[in-house]
Symmetry: C2
Subunit: 322 residues, 2 copies
């Protein structure tokens, strides 16, 4: 094959995934490693280089030079500097340069975005938002991340900063968030928020079923167990899920009014429960009168865990002017 492959790298809290991908989105080869094995920035960067080589070899392209490399990384990241400052979920100090060693090793452009942005770009390229003019892609996981893609390009804020619409305030009486506000979307509807509400509920009146599901250990309640309890009709768990659903309906309402998009894509691990969120989100959209919503797509993400990988590869392609 004559076309040089693109490399997509997805760095999450638990694993690093790398793929060699064609410009039309076909995965040629993959490689991955757990994040926790890296003991220093140098070791981390060596792992990235090794994984790129392994993905190329796995794709039958050992020794091939990638056309460009894109990275989607759990934030905060600085795309201009190529650095990540996330000592909370990565074994790296603040301002860690994870792009320069790759650039030198492969003599190729290396682009960096945060993971939510990369996932949004992936969904806009090959997933639920493909072909859309203006897509807002929301990733529900530990937190709530969001990326806006206009005509196939990510929309940053001023000076390359990342909007964080997962931290929009939806209910001032809601729980305090580490972001400095109370009742933001993430504090009401993220996996962390649902798990924490479940832990509190398991210790309170009516929390017996949740507590039993967690083997009697309230601290073992997480979002997965809360959804499981809610699906079997446990009122306490239903209440928590309903709050998250209501917040998400309001969040979707606000996305429509902030951007007037033609696609809203809900993804991330929690959206295995898309069926619980969809009716309220659709009802919220149906009530909207001020912004035209005919032709507005609301859909679950299609690329699953690969969205960030595809998006990172697309980032690489965009750096080449493709």
């Amino acid at each position: 094959m004559s076309e040089q492959p693109l490399i997509g790298i997805d760095i999450g809290g638990t694993k690093i995934a790398v793929a060699a991908i064609t410009s039309s989105g076909r995965i040629l080869g993959c490689a991955q490693a757990p994040v926790c094995e890296q003991s220093s920035l140098a070791a981390f960067n060596d792992t990235l280089i090794t994984l790129v080589r392994r993905a190329l070899a796995e794709g039958g392209l050992p020794g091939e030079k990638p056309a460009a490399i894109g990275i989607g990384c759990t934030g905060p990241v600085d795309p201009a500097q190529g650095t990540v400052s996330n000592p909370y979920t990565l074994p790296l100090p603040m301002d860690s340069d994870i792009t320069t060693p790759l650039r030198k090793a492969f003599d190729a452009p290396v682009l960096l975005e945060n993971d939510a942005f990369a996932a949004a770009l992936g969904e806009a390229w090959l997933g639920a938002a493909r072909g859309r003019e203006l897509a807002v892609c929301v990733t529900f996981g530990t937190g709530i991340g969001c990326g806006v893609v206009r005509a196939g390009r990510l929309q940053h804020g001023a000076r390359g900063h990342f909007p964080e619409i997962g931290h929009q305030i939806l209910d001032p009486t809601g729980p305090p968030c580490y972001c400095g506000a109370s009742g933001c979307w993430e504090s009401l509807a993220s996996g962390t928020a649902i798990g924490q509400a479940g832990q509190r509920a398991a210790q309170g009146p009516g929390g017996e079923a949740l507590l039993a599901l967690a083997g009697g250990r309230a601290e073992a309640v997480d979002a997965r167990l809360v959804f499981q309890a809610a699906r079997s009709g446990d009122p306490v768990a239903c209440h928590i899920v309903e709050r998250a659903v209501r917040a998400t309906a309001a969040g979707v309402h606000n996305l429509v009014h902030a951007f007037a998009p033609d696609a809203i894509v809900l993804g991330g691990g929690m959206m295995c429960h898309y069926d619980l969120f969809e009716p309220a989100a659709r009802a919220a959209i149906a009530r909207i009168t001020i912004v035209p919503v005919d032709g507005l797509l609301i859909a679950p993400a299609e690329l699953g865990a690969n969205a960030g990988l595809y998006g990172a590869a697309r980032l690489a392609a965009l750096s080449l002017g493709n």
Copy 2:
């Protein structure tokens, strides 16, 4: 002078203002007429043409051909069709074409945007947001309008639709709004919302001072009187203003998280009370931790009632590729 003038037209609920303006923003001549005098679409369009001729004549350019004409009009408007559908505050039927007659009369491009967008463009061109990379300009009047200007250009939604971030939900326990939601920004902090809350309060316990200010007629209470009462310490009026201020602080928080802008400009008639809103907005920004806010300007609009006129002229200039 050799340069053909730009024409800016600002159509509000009460008056039509027209100015002939240079490409550097100098007003050459103005003309205006009340909206209520127009009895039909044809009469309305004749008035627009007459006002353009009068503005040119006033600028010492009788008979001159404008380079381009921009219109900011109280919405909803359809920029692609050049039509306005606002029978509520304009004496015009739905889908009224207010651009074609002007285009034919002057053989010049005619561009149309809604009034909040035009005002935002004006502030970004010559006002408080000049030189900024990504500005969000909010206009507080009867309603709350908003425009986002990126690198000097307005940001529409998909298919040219207008975002309406004045209708973002900030407090689900707030008043119902005609937009279909409850507790949106406009329902809490617009002039209409403040006036209506004042009318209700004037009839309730503690409403005596407000009622007296309105000459004993609760229905005569408007936002102006509520602010006046609040400034003299009336607790009921203070409560209403504080709710609007709190909502606006949350609205500003959300704008920062939705766009990561480097300027937020608050304008419109109600911002003669900017001093009451500013401290809470600044405090909300100071609490933000997720989106960098160093270098984020928050400021009152500078162009006052002329923002829409300047913005409309800028719209005309942009249509020429300037």
